[in-house]
Structure formats: structure tokens, C-alpha cells
Symmetry: D2
Subunit: 144 residues, 4 copies
């Protein structure tokens, strides 16, 4: 299986990712689990900043229903990474994100993946349509 | 400073603590940070099991206002530890816990510490008195 | 897309998964990231127990090169889960795992996923063949 | 017990602390455990940047032997904090750090604490003297 090439210019929102000492595992690299916390933080940062998501008291919250990651090059604290995010699909109440991490000065992703958010009503947990500012923000970073 | 000796028979509630692969850091031992998640889990497990604490919807929640830990012997995944908890002081709305971790077959703590919980009203964040089942549960594991 | 059904009897190795207080996120459920630490711990527990993996000083170490998870039902501390593991493919130096998590008394997975390990030489990071006790252990839980 | 007042101008090294989505717990604030990962990262960042600490292959490594934290004001993702560090005591092979976290635009610490590092030989785990660049770096941020 050939390695996939994921480039920085495919993404539409970027944010610095600061590694932590405890992100490194016994083998001296950022543990595979921790990449998902980088992804998770990228998505929620964007939704809060641009989409008006109110994680504390808003009526609508997002549940992750699937996620995946390809690890192509190891990373270690104290590296600072650049996280890239785009929206790959928007449905009525769900959205697919594509995400990647880039080392300083490198346009080739050291890791990349995807996550799907389903938005639900906080009280009932029933799917609820993505509307208004949230939809606008997601469409703003949509690219095929 | 002489090492303090903390023994298993000083504690009144016990629970197994399962280490995780990612708890180990670059130096191959459980990271100092993670011990607090063991402590935190011990306290909340007891409060939920015995004190009727409802972390999702209860009116009263607990905030940690201070914590400390002495690390006396290193620990590493895949070890299973035994966590010990007791209440060292109960006030109107706050409680001091003493905690320790023990290796399999060893009555001398490999780490020990303390935490203080202040119980507050979830809606207002104002301190609220410890009453009823919660107070009974805390008193049940109180020992000087 | 219909929900996939993953059953407990598809797996060959099981281990209890103890949730922690801090696994729960703002929405009151175990955060999506944390499931991978359950997976990671399952795999490494098996490799250490049965495969003779020496994570501290062994010549051979395993790197995760991809991972994915489908979240089907939410989970929350203080639940205890049952983790299931099997090997789905063994190559020369890499192995694909299938993993799932089950709630107490429920044979239908609340989450399931996959991970691929590539074994490498600790000193050179070059892929190295899976041999001896490690291969035997992986074959012992292989099932299509 | 009166609240202690810890101010930004007591510290000699500063670094931004980026919170993560999963740092927030069920009560919507950064979990008490996570503050120690901020402290830990501050210390190791400084030691790597200025003290020449080589966490992957250096002969000397640092073990935390005690830590404590006072939580004075809650913090929540997506806040960015400012971490302050100073050295409060340097011995032959051990060092005491004082640490604090500050909210944007606020010189009063929202949390503060201390940690003690004992430097040891990586191979033997025996305490080893703090010398050369490492000692210089620690002395550079020493203040009573």
C-alpha cells in the first residue's frame, strides 16, 4: 500500500498544536491516542470561535461517531505542530471533518485523519439540524 | 528529610487502580500527573457508590481546591495498584481526603497525598453544606 | 448507513477496562479520544502478558501506524467495560488488530475499531520480523 | 484560611499554556489533574530550551518526588493561560520549582503550586549532581 500524500494547502483552517511532556510515551514519541486530542481540540476551537458553539450551556452539542488516523512520521514533545482542518461533507445534522498535522516548515502531513460529528439536542440526545451561524462556519471551511 | 512511612492499614476504602499504556512517560514510569487521576477516581468512585453523588445531574458538585502527592517509588504499566482512601477532616461544606497507592503485596505506600473537596451548588457555585447520605458516607471512612 | 453489529463472541482475548473520572468530558460521557487509550492498553497488555514484549528494554518495539473507532453508544465513568481483542491479519512485521468495548451484560459492542502495529528495531526504527513467542501469541488470537 | 495571593511578577520564565477540549471535565472546567500536566510541561520546556536536557538519550533525567497545587479560580477550554515558573531552591542534585497559571490580562494566579525534581543517572537511578548548563539555567531563574 503506497503512502498517501496529504498536503497543507488542502486545508482551510489552521491552529498551532502545543505538545505536552506527558504526550510522549515510553518509546519517546507522542502516543497514538494523543493525536485525537489534537484533532478534537482543532474542531472544537473552530466551532467555538466561528460557529458560536456554546459547549457549556448551548442547546445543541456534537457527538463524535467515528474517527480515524494515519500516522506517517513520529512526533515528540517539545515540538509545536500546525493543525489543519477542513469540512469534507455537511449533511442535515452531521458533518465530516478532514484533519492533518504538520511539522514546522513541512507541508507534508506527519499524520492525518477524519472525524464525524453528529449534532444533537443536549436535552434529548436526538439529532438536530445544523443551522445559522454553525452551518455558515462549517460551509466556510468546506472544500472537496 | 526522612521519608514518611504510610501504611495500608491507615486507610478505610480500597479500590484497584488499573494503569494504562499511555500512563508511562518517556522515562518508562507512570508520569507524576497521572497519580492525581488515580486519586480523583478513587474519591469520585466512593462518592458515587456510597455517597449518592450524581455527577451528571445532582444539585451539588465537588470542586478540588488543593492537592498534593509524595512519590516514593516508581510505578509502571502494566502494574495493578491498590488505592486507599480515608477522610481526614469533614467541615460544613468541605472535606479533606488522604490517599495512597500500594503495589501488589506491599503494605508500604509507593505514593501518597491529599486533596480537599469543597461542595458547591451546581447552579450558583456557592458552597453548600454536606448533608444526608453524602455526609454519612464521608463519616463512615473518617479516621484521624 | 446501517449500524454495524459487532458481537462479543468474535473476540478471543478479554480484559476489564476501568474508566476514570477525568475520562468524562463536558458532555458527561467518555471523550472519544480516551477509547483509543483503552484499545492501546488492551493490545499492550496482551503483548506483555503472552507475547513477551519488554516495553522498557526489548530490542523490538511496536509503532501504531493507523487506528480507527466507531462509537455506537455512549459510555461514562464509573462504568466498567469489557474490552475484546483479536488479531485480524499477521504479516512479516505488521499486525492488524480488531478491538471492541462492551458494557456489562451486553454482547453488542458500544464501540469498536482497529489498529495496525508495525514492529521495528528499537535502535534503528527499521521494521523487523515478528518471531518466536510474539508471533505465537498473535497467532493464538488470530481469527478471520 | 485566607486565600494566598500569588502574582505574575514573582516569576522569571513564562510560556503560553494551550488548553485542550478534553481537559474540561463533566463540570465544564479544566480537571484538577490536568494542571499538573501544565506544570510538568513548563518545567521540561525550560530544561530542554535552556538547560540542555536531552529527554531521549541524555545520561541524566529528572524524577518528580513531590508536587502540590492550589486551585483558586476555575479555568476552561478554550482559554489560553500564561504559565510562570521560577526556581525556589537548588541543592546538589535536587531543585524546587514554584509554578503558577494566569488568565489573559490578569496578574493574580488562578492556580499555583510547587514541584521538586531529583536528577538521577538514567542507567542507575542514583541521584547525580546538577552541573554545567543545567545548573546555569536553573540558577538563571532562581529567586527567593
Amino acid at each position: 500500500m503506497p503512502r498517501q500524500t496529504v498536503l497543507k494547502n488542502e486545508f482551510t483552517y489552521f491552529k498551532e498544536v502545543h505538545t505536552r511532556w506527558m504526550d510522549n510515551d515510553t518509546y519517546g514519541h507522542v502516543n497514538n491516542v494523543v493525536y485525537y486530542s489534537y484533532f478534537d481540540t482543532l474542531v472544537n476551537s473552530y466551532l467555538i470561535e466561528k460557529g458560536g458553539l456554546d459547549i457549556q450551556t448551548g442547546d445543541q452539542i456534537g457527538f463524535i461517531v467515528n474517527s480515524n488516523c494515519e500516522y506517517q512520521q513520529s512526533v515528540a514533545f517539545p515540538e509545536i505542530l500546525h493543525g489543519g482542518l477542513k469540512v469534507a461533507r455537511i449533511g442535515t445534522s452531521s458533518v465530516d471533518y478532514a484533519l492533518a498535522l504538520f511539522k514546522e516548515g513541512n507541508d507534508l502531513a506527519c499524520a492525518f485523519g477524519a472525524m464525524t460529528h453528529v449534532f444533537v439536542d443536549r436535552a434529548t440526545n436526538e439529532p438536530s439540524p445544523i443551522r445559522g451561524q454553525l452551518r455558515d462556519a462549517l460551509e466556510a471551511i468546506y472544500t472537496k
